[in-house]
């Protein structure tokens, strides 16, 4: 069997996006106390209520303990060794267009193989590129402004539209939610704000590239998307990070709010640095993502392709509050080398005739460890709720692991829910069949794995689907014995 | 026997039957033909009392009794039988047990004593022969894992056992190959009697080659637009259903 050698090759396939960009940063010294929290708020010129909210969150955070229930192992994080703010020099001089962007940064994107210009040209995507923590470029503003869509950094939103942001920020993920969300509420650096007014179909796909660069800098993104009644928006998020030799913490919070008949589609391709062969370095990706289907017939759809990070801890969720609301979760997660992922979703059915779909595809190779952890809860008043869950794991090599931990709680007997899960390896028969038709083993594996993930890729916007497939192929590169 | 007058029925907001009239006398066989979506299955379901249909106007009298207010099981006890187009599978529900429960409930309603196990088994074996069914069928769960043909034969077998006064055969020919069709039709013909009426609902004329109707009705857009003898079926076969639109438009 060539499987063993194929595994070796997968394990050895190096992180294609490993490099560091030299850019001067305006960075706070490591450590966290009230002074640091105030300093962050001050530097960003935030309104007073925000400073107060950050402090409240910080004080609450001090009372919390780091969660231990996820099936992931890592050395204890020293939260005093992390720097909580890093911005490109002179943030007030942040460039207004791509021309003003530091050519070194542009080259960084080029090295990633996803140059902004190409992306722009590709499908008219507005790109709000986040380099470290502060937004440095926003394009297509005018087109969006015409439609009445607000698409800007969260710092900007807090300055320019404080009354619009205030009632929503923290309304889906309150600072009391969990340890990392609380930390984020205290120290969040920047992120994205999207507001789609009533009845507006956002004229383009919105996209942000997140990157982590500065040494020892935690990144605490905050994203808030509000879709008013009858509106539609598709948001794409992609991440890569340069090679690092120390662990980096990333604790983002994403909040989505959909009113009556509104739809939000949130897609993620995550390819942060996973650490080296021995598991050194790599990003800790502890993210809280939650969507609130507040309105009747609203819909929130999460699609994610997770191939990076040393540790992923994330459960994009939907609260199906409005009657006939729809929640969806489509996920492909790859763990190899020493990567660990504990990921899944929560579907909380509260409204009548709410529906949810969960499709999770996990691929574990090398010594990768992966856990699907999902919750489907049908509330007492959620008459006529429906859920379908399909949860498949593919194992490559005999040193990896795959766990499936679904929680299904039904308090309304009119609920119909189906959950199916399988765990298997690529069968020798499938491999042999492909090879007997002339495919190399590597192509065969790639083809079979892509087929395994197809249901999820189908949910991605076209440009992203192509990138996701490319990422998956890179992840499985060298799978030939 | 059966008298349907001005029957209107809706599914959700959509009106399917729009004032349907039909009279079936004892021993008569009526064929109801019509294109897809004309309301054939709705008629079968409304007559047998299936949920999901709202009767907004009209009446259905069965031997003088108002059928529409009755529960489905009471209709069956009165002697109404529907042979389903798509018989549902009942995993785990043993066929013999099911048949016995059904037969005895009908007997009880008629004030007859329940059959003991021996006479029941004798009766059932006799009826199985009519449909060329194997008695291994009795050990299986109702319709579970049956082929399409087996399901349809099982429906007619139940009809033979329950001996209804009025049987509605809802597209019994759909999905049957010619041999299976012949067996089913033979079964039906064996059950013809002066006391038993039948409504044969079908899309195709071919079933009527085997089961000769006394009357043929054309159902279109929720109403019977033409009635005639069996020659009407042949006419339909020749002309198809296309002419209906022309006629209705006129």
């Amino acid at each position: 069997m060539t499987g063993a050698s194929a595994v070796e090759d997968i394990v050895k396939s190096e992180y294609a996006h490993g490099f560091t960009t030299e850019i001067e940063s305006d960075t706070l010294p490591p450590g966290l106390d009230e002074q640091v929290v105030r300093a962050i708020s001050q530097r960003k010129g935030e309104p007073e209520f925000m400073t107060a909210q950050r402090l409240k969150a910080y004080r609450h955070w001090l009372t919390l303990r780091e969660p231990e229930w996820a099936a992931v192992n890592y050395p204890k994080i020293d939260f005093q060794a992390i720097s909580y703010y890093s911005a490109p020099k002179r943030p007030e001089d942040a460039p207004k267009s791509l021309d003003e962007i530091d050519p070194v940064l542009l080259e960084t994107y080029n090295k990633l193989g996803i140059p902004i210009e190409e992306q722009k040209a590709l499908a008219g995507i507005a790109v709000d590129a986040v380099f470290d923590s502060v937004s440095v470029a926003t394009t297509f503003r005018s087109t969006l402004a015409e439609a009445g869509v607000i698409f800007c950094s969260i710092s900007e939103a807090l300055r320019d539209y404080p009354d619009l942001v205030k009632p929503y920020l923290g309304s889906v993920v309150p600072y009391t939610d969990n340890f990392y969300a609380c930390l984020n509420a205290a120290v969040f650096s920047d992120g994205t704000f999207v507001y789609v007014p009533k009845g507006v179909r956002c004229p383009m796909e919105l996209s942000t590239y997140f990157r982590i660069n500065a040494r020892n800098t935690g990144q605490f993104e905050r994203t808030l998307i509000v879709a008013e009644a009858g509106s539609y928006v598709s948001y794409l998020e992609g991440c890569t990070a340069p090679q690092r030799d120390e662990n980096q913490l990333h604790a983002a919070v994403v909040e989505l709010i959909a009113m009556d008949d509104a739809e939000i589609k949130y897609s993620t391709v995550q390819n942060w640095y996973p650490g080296d062969e021995r598991g050194v370095g790599g990003i800790y990706n502890f993210v809280t993502k939650r969507g609130d289907c507040r309105g009747a017939r609203s819909k929130i759809s999460w699609t994610q392709v997770e191939t990076g990070s040393a540790i992923t801890w994330k459960y994009p969720s939907c609260i199906l509050r409005g009657d006939e609301a729809v929640g969806e979760f489509y996920s492909v997660a790859v763990t190899k080398g020493r990567q660990q992922a504990d990921t899944g979703t929560k579907m909380i059915h509260l409204g009548k005739n709410t529906r949810s779909t969960i499709v999770s595809k996990g691929i574990s190779a090398g010594e990768g460890q992966q856990t699907y952890r999902g919750l489907v809860r049908i509330g007492r008043r959620a008459e006529g709720a429906r859920n379908h869950t399909q949860c498949d794991s593919l194992l490559i090599g005999d040193r990896c692991s795959a766990n499936t931990v679904p929680y299904i709680e039904v308090k309304n007997p009119s609920a119909k829910m189906e959950h199916e899960a399988t765990t298997s390896k690529i069968s020798d028969d499938q491999l042999f069949y492909c090879r007997s038709r002339g495919l190399t083993e590597e192509d065969a594996v790639s083809m079979i794995v892509n087929g395994f993930c197809k249901e999820v890729f189908n949910e991605l916007p076209m440009e992203f689907a192509v990138e996701a497939q490319k990422l998956l192929s890179i992840s499985l590169e060298g799978a030939v014995g | 026997m059966l008298s349907v007058t001005g029957l209107r029925a809706t599914v959700g907001d959509k009106e399917i039957l729009k004032g349907l009239d039909l009279k079936v006398g004892p021993g008569e066989i009526h064929a109801i033909m019509g294109p897809n979506g004309s309301g054939k299955s709705t008629l079968s379901h409304v007559l047998s009392g299936r949920d999901g249909y709202t009767v907004t106007a009209g009446s259905v009298l069965f031997e003088g009794q108002d059928l529409l207010t009755l529960e489905p099981e009471v209709r069956a006890q009165l002697g109404l039988f529907l042979a389903f187009q798509y018989p549902v599978e009942l995993p785990g529900v043993n066929n013999t047990y099911f048949l016995k429960a059904a037969l005895n409930s009908l007997r009880k309603a008629r004030g007859e004593p329940e059959l003991d196990a021996v006479s029941f088994l004798r009766l059932i074996k006799e009826k199985l022969k009519i449909l060329h069914l194997d008695d291994s069928l009795l050990k299986r769960a109702v319709n579970a894992g049956f082929s399409g043909g087996e399901k349809k034969r099982n429906e007619i077998f139940q009809m033979a056992l329950l001996e209804p006064k009025l049987a509605i055969l809802d597209e019994t020919d759909s999905g049957l190959d010619i041999d299976a069709l012949r067996v089913v039709a033979e079964g039906v013909n064996a059950l013809r009697s002066p006391e038993r009426s039948m409504i044969v609902v079908t899309h195709y004329q071919r079933l009527l080659d085997y089961i000769q109707p006394d009357y043929v009705h054309v159902l279109a857009r929720g109403r019977i637009i033409r009635s005639g003898g069996k020659e009407l079926a042949l006419e339909l076969e020749e002309k198809g259903y296309g002419w209906i639109d022309a006629e209705l438009a006129a």
């Binding site: 766990n403 299904i408 390896k425 | 059904a102």
Partner: protein, 433 residues
Amino acid sequence: MNAPLHSGLEHWLSAPDDTPAPDWLLEQRRAARVRVSAQPLPHSKEEAWRYTSLKGLLEQDFSAIDEPLDALQAEDLDAVLIAGLDAHRVVLVNGRFAPELSTLDALPAGVRIGGLRDWLDRDPESLRGQLDTARGESGAFFALLNTAGLDDGLVLWLERGTLLERPVELIHLSVELDEPRVAHPRHLVYLEAGAQATLIERYVSLGASLYCTNAVVEVLLGRDAVLKHERLQMESRNAFHLTSLYLVQDANSRYVGVNIGLGARWARTDLNTRFRGEQAECLLHGLYLAGDGQLLDYHLDVEHAVPNCRSEEQFKGLLTGAGRAVFDGRVLVAKHAQKSDAAMSNRNLMLSEQAEIDTKPQLEIYADDVKCSHGTTVGQIEPEMLFYLRSRGIDAARAQRMLCLGFAAEILDQLGAEAVREQVAEAVAQRLG
């Protein structure tokens, strides 16, 4: 001298020297008591107790049974016997072996059946290395309590190659006493290599008794051994019921378990199985019916510790009234346990407005060449099915009952003896009203 027990459990254990026991066993009991005292009470923050509260149990203030109940006559037993079941019968009354009610004549050679207490009195050394070994290092709270309070129970021991044709029926009969009592029966089933047997383990009561059963069943299957194990929990609706099964299987052995749960106000069942040799097979079937005021909680822990074993877990639930059920199934495939095959399913039928179900089927897999799956459904009776039956003249209530029994048939069919199958089906039908 004795470590103090938790509030609400103070009287769960009688003085440890009350039972005849060799030193090694006394030591085991003492260690268990120390360990259980040092542990916190199970609480909802623990995964294993996430959905099940001990509140009702602790409120009862149960105390350990100290005296055997001699007052029962053979006639009293008639009410709980299954007509037509031909079996070697072992009767325990309130956790104590009752030889006068048991029928253990005509045992074939190689079969030893007896009360644990007697056995410990006569031949304690034979149980050394067998008794309380399957449990391993488990820190499960109530199994530890059972060990600490270990007193009497069944020992079923088949020597190498012995085939026991008639089933062994273990009747665990409970009767309410002056105050709420708890019994800690401990059963040991040991089938040496190639032995085969059927054990029907029944939990029943006289009348609507209030009591608590905290049982532990240990099953050791030698190479090629085969055990059919039917467990019928039909306790009084006022009773509390806890059982833990610990099963260890050697190579090529086969275990078929059928767990029926109909009784008790509050019942918790833990099934722990472990493959120790390859090519072994373990089938766990279950049917539970929870109605008004009932909580039935099932936990499965199936460990594929070695390669080439197969397990199948199939549990079905019917929920009526304000009934609640919990299913928490875990299949673990250890590193190197290649070619493991595991299929778990949990299907639930909700029959009322107030019923609740929490289900959590887990796979934990550390080997790649495996075939593992699980499926869970929660749903209602299909209206088409109901209509079909009604269109044949069967009234709605009866049609619903027929469909529920049809749903349950897959599990009921696993019960080997027709008499048992009929009795359980009858009980299910009765509960469905």
